[in-house]
Symmetry: C2
Subunit: 166 residues, 2 copies
C-alpha cells in the first residue's frame, strides 16, 4: 500500500515530514551533512537497497534539499550535495541527536556529542533567541496558529489552551 501523503495537511510539521519523513531520508541527510556525496558511498555506509536509495535521493533532489550535479573531478560521476534548504535542517538534526543521546542512550556513553566549535566544550542544551536577542528556554516558546492556520490547527490550539488552564 502506498503511504498516504501529508501534502494536503496544512501544518508545517506535516509539510516537513512530507519532504524528509520517509524511512531512511534523515540518515541520508545526516551523511550528506558530513560531506558524503556519491551514490555508492551512501549505499555501502547505510547498507540500503539501491532502489530505495535511488527513490529517496530523487525525492530529495525534487524537493530542492539535495543538488545533483556532475562531480567536479570526474564528469561521468554524479554528486549529491545539500542546498541551503538542506543545510537549514541542521537544527532538526541537532534536536534529534540531543534527544537520542538523552532518551535512547548507549551504555558506554555518547555516540555523538554536541560541542561548541570554538572551545570543544559540550553544549548545555538548545534554546531560542527572542526578537531582541535574548536567549529563551524552549519551554518559554509557544506554538500559536498564524494567518494561514486551518480549522484543524485552531482546534489543536484550543485544546492546548484548555490544557494550559487545566
Amino acid at each position: 500500500m502506498r503511504k498516504r501523503s501529508f501534502a494536503d495537511i496544512n501544518c508545517p510539521i506535516a509539510q516537513t515530514l512530507e519532504l524528509i519523513g520517509e524511512w531512511w531520508t534523515l540518515l541520508i541527510i545526516r551523511n550528506a551533512f558530513c560531506g558524503m556525496c556519491r551514490f555508492d558511498d551512501f549505499q555501502r555506509h547505510l547498507d540500503i537497497s539501491t532502489n530505495i536509495l535511488s527513490a529517496r535521493l530523487q525525492r530529495l533532489v525534487a524537493s530542492g534539499i539535495l543538488l545533483r550535479q556532475p562531480a567536479p573531478d570526474d564528469g561521468r560521476a554524479v554528486e549529491y550535495t545539500l542546498t541551503d534548504k538542506g543545510r537549514a535542517l541542521y537544527p532538526v538534526l541537532l534536536a534529534i541527536t540531543q534527544w537520542g543521546e538523552t532518551w535512547a542512550p548507549h551504555p558506554d556513553g555518547a555516540r555523538l556529542q554536541l560541542l561548541e566549535r570554538a572551545s570543544g566544550q559540550p553544549v548545555a542544551g538548545l534554546a531560542a533567541v527572542s526578537h531582541d536577542g535574548r536567549s529563551l528556554p524552549l519551554a518559554d516558546i509557544d506554538l500559536q496558529p498564524g494567518p494561514a492556520a486551518d480549522a484543524k490547527t485552531h482546534h489543536l490550539a484550543r485544546l492546548r489552551q484548555q490544557q494550559a488552564k487545566g
Copy 2:
C-alpha cells in the same frame, strides 16, 4: 515488506527515528502536545486508519513516550498522555516547525508561529546554550563522535573534517 529496523545502527539519530520516525508518529505526538488524548479524537483529527493508529500508539507506549491509562473521569475510557521522555521531544517539534514555515511555507503566511510566551513576540530562531550559559548560534555547534561511537560514525566524522578543511 516490513521496513528495516534502525535498532542496530549505533547513532542517536537512527535510534530516535527508530522510536518516532514512522509515518504518522510525529503527527500523533504533535496532537498529544496539544492535549489530545483519546483514540477516537486522534483518529478523527488525523483521518488515519484505526489499525495504523493503534499500532503507532502501542509502539509509543512500549517506547515510554506515551503513557496509557484509564481516563480520570471515566474508568472505562483510555487516555494517552506524553511522559517526560515524550515531552522532551519539544525541541524536535520546534525545529521541524521552524523549518517547515521557512522552507515549505504557505502563501498566506504562517500556519504555526513560534512565539515567546511572555511577550507574544515571534522568536528570531533557535540557538544552543554553552556550558557556561552563553547563547551560541547553531552554526557554531559541531557534532563529534563520543566514547560509544562506532567505526561508521568515525568514518562520517573523518569525512566531515576533510570537508571542513577543503
